[in-house]
Point group: C2
Chain length 320, copies 2
Amino acid sequence: MELPQVLVLGPPSIFPYLESQFPNRFFFLKPWLYNLPLTQFLTSYAQSTQALLIRGGGSTQLTSAIIDCLPSLKLVVTSSVGVDHLDLPELRRRGVAIANAGNLFSEDAADMAVGLLIDVLRKVSAGDRFVRQGLWSKKGDFPPGLKLSGKRIGIVGLGKIGSEVAKRLEGFGCKVSYNSRTKKSMAPYSYYSNVYELAANTEALIICCALTKETYRLINKEVMQALGKDGVIVNVGRGLIIDEKEMIRCLIQGEIGGAGLDVFENEPNVPEELFNLDNVVLSPHNAVMTYESKVELSKLVVNNLEAFFSNTPLVSPVVD
Amino acid sequence: MELPQVLVLGPPSIFPYLESQFPNRFFFLKPWLYNLPLTQFLTSYAQSTQALLIRGGGSTQLTSAIIDCLPSLKLVVTSSVGVDHLDLPELRRRGVAIANAGNLFSEDAADMAVGLLIDVLRKVSAGDRFVRQGLWSKKGDFPPGLKLSGKRIGIVGLGKIGSEVAKRLEGFGCKVSYNSRTKKSMAPYSYYSNVYELAANTEALIICCALTKETYRLINKEVMQALGKDGVIVNVGRGLIIDEKEMIRCLIQGEIGGAGLDVFENEPNVPEELFNLDNVVLSPHNAVMTYESKVELSKLVVNNLEAFFSNTPLVSPVVD
């Protein structure tokens, strides 16, 4: 019996694990093994491919030019929560179904957001560098950071991840506020209808929203200036939600206090100006990935692919 | 009018701030400015000194040899919560009063303990090094860490700091257990009467207890082996609560998973074997210090000194 064919783009970071743990279920088409331009590979080998597994956003984009090379495409499974790297209108127009990582990552992303916030405020990574460089015994006391307990924290996007961040911050005695498209009637936090007001009334912003036309460069110069010189930004959303150039200028000139960044505009390339700053913590888009979630995500991807090939409903479909 | 004299040993990290913010209240005796052995300085200049301000434990000890040089001593104010660096029996015998930092640091210490735990599990500092060294664009995906949400966490010492840690970890959905001298009837967490059992039943240990004869090297080889190869240790107590040599061996040989250390046996000297390990986070005894707590602690020290010199009760006395 022939195995169902799955084209893999990216590939997702879980792919080697998935491939070894779930053998003999699919035939994976791997363009990166061929010395061909992608469109040429697809035209030659993927004309009957119905299912595509793609890495999350950042460096990999599913453009209409790629979709045009896949006439039989009926399913896209992305290993991410976000779908900003997919040309949604084009996929919809062609009736292609989409599955994503569902809520699998919410806890991990929230844990990391809080970890980055503590790290920036309390200078954990900077202190670690100080000790490893042998400076503690030479230079004496390391300068203190800022307190987290009791701080006013603003969450941008109170979806599943944002809500998990809020729950965690309550344990630290923080005063949580949020901004989102609409007020959530069940959320016990102050709502600000615009992010500028949120920044003006809080000491740190945690970016938890999806990248959309509305959130593209939402965190701009005015928002950062409202946040102020001791203010901290944590981003576990997408790099393009922040005006990155402006943020770097604000960090260097002390117009904001610091930043904990898991995502960047042009991953995996991180602007080198950030490498020498002690008030930033740089994370290689790792917020949503733990060993445990890698295992769970691999299962979820396989379950979505098997559902598709057996004509049963997707486990974690993306619906409008 | 002559200002009341205060001998300063250490000095505490807050001392420069305290001195500049509260001028003309005390005459500070600063032995480190004199080119004399300490005992000779004290014998020459501190014979009438009644009040002593001392840095917290780690590198500074108030031994009976020093106390012997201070015949007029009536008050010791330490800038720490812990009093393990003070010769308590000798001070008690002489009727010397002691004031410490009270509960001032509990929130900051708990925030840092959780920050170190997230950092070790999720490899935050290691990821930051990876990005800063330009390895993300060269080597690709950074290996995932371990999940915090839902983990079984053991707290060693459920005092003020331990309780604040527990409260925070509840927000992460962790299952909290603890070990302490006695079961706390009000605490909603599982109690283990010995730390070995606690380690055997949890995935991380957070050391929050004071250093005493009973807790000296409490975390020994057997406890670490019970914790196991994915287990993590966080220490915001004192370095001597862990068998440091054995811990380093366990870290290098993979017998425990990782460690987040704010305190060490011989501060500010940190064993160099730790500098090259990616599964440890090293913090320069900074858990209890933030800008905000520096301000509050300076006020508290001044209030204790002024209470003493005006014969009113100490604000934060250490009582048996």
